[in-house]
Symmetry: C2
Subunit: 252 residues, 2 copies
Amino acid sequence: MPQPEISIFPILGLPEIVPGCQLSSVLAEAVRRSDLVLKDFDILVIAHKVISKAEGRIVQLNDVEPSKVATIWAEKSGKDARLVELSLREASRIVRMERGVLITETRHGFVCANSGVDTSNVAPGCAVLLPEDPDRSAEELRKSLNEEFKVRLGVVVSDTFGRPWRGGIVNVAIGVAGFDPLTDYRGFPDSFGKKMRASVVASADELAGAAEMVMGKTRAVPAVIIRGFSWPTGLSGTGKKLLRPATEDLFR
Amino acid sequence: MPQPEISIFPILGLPEIVPGCQLSSVLAEAVRRSDLVLKDFDILVIAHKVISKAEGRIVQLNDVEPSKVATIWAEKSGKDARLVELSLREASRIVRMERGVLITETRHGFVCANSGVDTSNVAPGCAVLLPEDPDRSAEELRKSLNEEFKVRLGVVVSDTFGRPWRGGIVNVAIGVAGFDPLTDYRGFPDSFGKKMRASVVASADELAGAAEMVMGKTRAVPAVIIRGFSWPTGLSGTGKKLLRPATEDLFR
């Protein structure tokens, strides 16, 4: 049996993350306890939720005073008005608000449901917001873990997003550090020697999706290591590169 | 070092596929030559292009007579009028036709650029169309390979699609056989014991994306085996389940 080209390992035994927790230390300890030996070019994919928790991006719903529009929309769509209020506060623009669905553009530029505000896997009565700057969070983790383990890691901060046209949600990259999130095949020859034209692959999103299969939703495995991904040559990591510029987007 | 939870193996040494080729036999031979020992619940992800080729869904561009609208649009957008013509013929509806981008809904219900018509990794002067019925193609492969290797496989037929809001293309599932392409976490408890509400994960798309990391675009590895994916209990496989119903889609 040959070796797999890509392998995905769970980082097991992470404790529940609380505000102020030194996430990189907790991760490093869990990596050691999992007997994982990190290698150069491994990719750490981590669910944004543990980062948001560590960074204190948790809100007590009882502290939220819903605005009028949030109250009206919540009533119409059967949602919690305080969650709607948070979603609106986290938005820079409302993309769609109809048929019970609230899609916004967040301050980071992500287009997603409810500005990414979520109540799953967080204490009852609380909501968790997206990290302030997922690229910065990714970069901080990358630096700390690279130093700790003397390796060169890539880091992806992920969240599950819905999308138009296709059903279900998929895990995508909202923060990236250490590698280029896009793999650009343009100009390379295809198998017939013709130059490829339109092939820029959102590799960081594929890494996030692959990681979700190991994370699951109910298993409390918010971080995984992916080994064997071919790093693009560019090393500039920012999830912003995964945002389609509004001028090139026919569906804003 | 622990075992990986998910492993992805390339199926190496597939020859160039030509119309009429018995794809399942060619695949079985390549699996054997790759020393891969297939196991129950392995997932085969295969690029639609080799299926289209085997099924004869290749068109000589010189045989295509562009219509007037195809000619005008091709001129405006700098495209080959015969490719535009094929894209229009493969469409059941035009979703957007502006700023040089042609997005259609195909007869299958996929919303994608140019109805999936593509010229990369196909002989010069030719274009390849999507398979007539990717679910049927997946099911045929599944049956043949299950019999051949006495295993229970899942099969995903994939293509790379662009998407609104996010840059780059990702590999997605356009045909599925043997397993439920959606993993439904609704009603399951989260890590705090609260019932999950909105979590239906498009696992088949995550499998396709993960596979792309091994397929690449230029390496001529159109088929991979993914081991370790947790099969949903439902076994009804159809890529159609990944299509968001128009009534629930705010972006058609």
